[in-house]
């Protein structure tokens, strides 16, 4: 099933009088259940593309279809709702709230989903999510008491708390050593294969990209090439 469909997406930043084109016409289709790596050198536009895919920004022109809905022109509030319901984010620097327990960090997005869960429901859902990333015994630890890998797993649990179909990861292993990187990437693979969550990673590390089923490389605002990486056999696993 087609999850994301980009048609001739362009993004131009206006720097004073000068228009700086960053994306120059990107067309892309991502199926549900794929594990995609977006690569490219710095300045290639991969972060901008990520922001547009993640509904943090809107394209200058082009169409963006997410689950059969055209969303390139929707308002900021509607984008916020989409981010809450359908998208999860994992960042390079984890972005956990300091001096806040893991469980409260994970529960934070629930405050904005308009479901008005009770305190107890919120906690049980967050605890369940933390158990899934293997941190059931760290519920009340603060970020400063957790290792980098654990912090990133808390961030993953937070991204998944609203059960989104898509997870975006922006250099998810950038701040981790190779061993914990491997852990996090394995977790991505497991989420992808077991739960069928579509994962889109931005990375410049070829080793990280190697875990992806599909590798899209950008250069100068255009898709330069696409390759099925080692995990290409997984592409068909999705339901």
């Amino acid at each position: 099933m087609e999850l994301i469909n980009l048609r001739q997406i362009t993004k131009t930043y206006q720097m004073g009088d000068i228009a700086v084109p960053v994306l120059k016409g990107i067309s892309l289709t991502i199926q549900q259940g794929e594990l995609v790596a977006l690569t490219g050198s710095s300045g290639s536009g991969k972060s901008t593309l990520m922001n547009i895919l993640g509904c943090l920004d809107h394209p200058t022109a082009g169409e963006y279809w997410l689950e059969g809905q055209e969303i390139s022109g929707i308002s900021a509030d509607e984008r916020a709702l989409l981010r809450n319901r359908k998208l999860g984010f994992v960042f390079q620097s984890f972005n956990l709230l300091a001096r806040t327990s893991a469980i409260e960090n994970v529960a934070m997005p629930l405050a904005y989903n308009a479901e008005n869960l009770s305190e107890r429901e919120t906690r049980s859902r967050a605890a369940e999510m933390l158990a899934r990333v293997g941190l059931a015994d760290r519920l009340d630890h603060h970020p400063s008491q957790l290792s980098g890998g654990q912090q990133q797993r808390v961030a993953i649990a937070r991204a998944l708390i609203n059960r989104p179909p898509v997870l975006f990861a922006d250099e998810p292993t950038g701040n981790l050593d190779s061993r914990t990187s491997e852990e996090v990437l394995q977790m991505f693979e497991r989420l992808n294969s077991e739960d069928g969550i579509t994962i889109i990673m931005v990375t410049h590390d070829p080793k990280v990209a190697g875990h992806a089923g599909r590798k899209i490389s950008l250069a100068d605002g255009l898709i330069q090439g696409e390759a099925a990486a080692s995990g290409s056999d997984r592409q068909g696993d999705a339901p």
């Binding site: 509030d77 960042f91 972005n95 409260e104 008005n116 609203n162």
Partner: protein
């Protein structure tokens, strides 16, 4: 998101940095505390001031008989003889705005003790209630005379400090006898020092006695003829010295002989009095009280509509005016101080909230990335500011109230708890939170999530 959930989030956010939250709140704590303390101490001072001015006679109304005139010749205020002690009782009974009324007679005569003599400024005949009206109930020595003394016309008196000084030279006069116009009076008490009044009249230079005694034994006349300072021979029948030193007062009619007096005794004792002193419930009630007294007296004196009053009612309008301007001044002064302290507290809140927004830019970006809308962020920061202000307000109330109690305990200043001030402080601190929290909150809500996430 419900307000409750927002408040919870705000509390969590504040708890994450308790030091900053505490320092921010401190501004409001001090602001509100100062307001409460100022209001309470101010209200206390204000009502103490009111009481002081009231004790100077701001609530007192003086009712005096009007003028008598004959053939176009007016005899001046106090020359009619229509005001009676019964009028005084009727005023007290029938005027709700009056809480005390005292019938009074005045005399001026020489007072003698041993080989010393003195002419007091005034000899007042009154009832014990006079001391209450004048806020003079605390005596320096002895006991006041009672209502029974008034009924019986007992020869007892209270002396002012000046008279004690002049006649007794520091000895205690209580229990001794003085003579007023050759009538001996037993001194039962000494009035406390009051000093001069606003016109420079020495208020300690008085003798107070039951009005019946003064009326029937001392003056025997109306106010118009009461100025007999050197007249020591009012009761000529008793004082044999008057034959040697004839009374200076001229008699209009030839003196009646003993036979004439026996044949035609004067049956009537005129019970007219010189003035009634009435106390209104409060200075605000004075116009009402005047109207009520006027109504009662016109009815009692059978004055038809259209005819002019046979009495005058005078109030201390100058004092009353002073009282109201002083009170208004105090209130405005306190209000100004209160507003300034709250303004300072509010600016403090805004300051810290702005810093907080900058410091938490990444958090805001993150919250937006996981689905917070601009208005969610706005609400969160506003609620944080209001929570800070309300907490500060509550602490400020405790602090301010405690401070004013301490002032009362240590400095013995008059303090008045004012629930209105507390309610105002709570409302104002919430208002300050909203007003001064809005700009930082609005700024936070306008952040671009991408920029905010990238912020270092």
């Amino acid at each position: 998101m419900m307000i409750y959930a927002t408040a919870r989030t705000a509390f969590k956010a504040l708890r994450r940095n308790p030091m900053r939250a505490m320092l921010t709140t401190l501004g409001i704590v001090i602001g509100v505390g100062a307001v409460i303390a100022m209001m309470e101490i101010g209200a206390g001072s204000s009502s103490a001031l009111k009481k002081t001015i009231a004790s100077m006679g701001a609530n007192v109304l003086i009712i005096r008989p009007g003028t008598a005139s004959s053939g176009g010749v007016s005899f001046g205020a106090g020359s009619t003889t229509t005001l009676t002690p019964a009028d005084s009782q009727a005023i007290l009974r029938e005027c709700p705005a009056i809480n005390n009324a005292v019938p009074m007679v005045r005399a001026r005569a020489q007072v003698v003790y041993g080989n010393r003599n003195w002419v007091p400024n005034a000899i007042y005949g009154a009832t014990p209630a006079y001391l209450e009206v004048q806020d003079w109930t605390i005596l320096a020595e002895g006991e006041p005379f009672g209502d029974r003394d008034v009924l019986n016309g007992n020869r007892v008196c209270l002396l002012g400090q000046t008279i004690v000084r002049e006649l007794f030279e520091g000895l205690s006069p209580v229990g001794r006898e003085i003579r007023i116009k050759n009538i001996s009076f037993k001194v039962v008490g000494v009035l406390s020092q009051k000093g001069a009044n606003m016109m420079g009249f020495d208020q300690d230079d008085v003798i107070l006695a039951p009005w019946t005694t003064i009326k029937y034994r001392v003056s025997g006349t109306t106010l118009a003829t009461a100025n007999q300072s050197s007249d020591t021979a009012g009761s000529s029948a008793v004082n044999t010295l008057s034959n040697i030193y004839p009374a200076s007062q001229l008699s209009l009619y030839p003196e009646r002989s003993a036979v004439q007096q026996a044949d035609n005794p004067m049956p009537v004792r005129f019970a007219n009095i010189d003035q009634i002193m009435a106390a209104a419930i409060s200075s605000e009630e004075i116009p009402v009280a005047i109207a009520q007294i006027s109504g009662v007296l016109r009815e009692r004196h059978r004055i038809r509509t259209g005819e002019s009053d046979d009495f005058n009612i005078r109030n201390m309008s100058e004092l009353t005016k002073t009282l109201s301007t002083t009170t208004a001044l105090m209130t405005n002064l306190l209000l100004a101080v209160a507003m300034i302290s709250l303004l300072v507290g509010g600016v403090g809140i805004m300051n810290i909230m702005l810093v907080s927004v900058t410091e938490r830019t990444r958090e805001i970006g993150l919250r937006m990335a996981v689905g917070a809308r601009g208005r969610d962020i706005l609400r969160q920061f506003l609620v944080e500011a209001v929570v800070l202000c309300l907490t500060g307000g509550a602490m400020g109330i405790v602090l301010g109230h405690g401070g004013s109690l301490l002032v009362r305990a240590l400095l013995d200043w008059p303090v008045e708890t004012s629930p209105a001030a507390i309610a105002t402080a709570v409302l104002v601190s919430a208002g300050v939170g909203i007003i001064f929290g809005f700009y930082p909150a609005w700024k936070a809500s306008r952040l671009d999530p991408i920029e905010a996430l990238r912020y270092e």
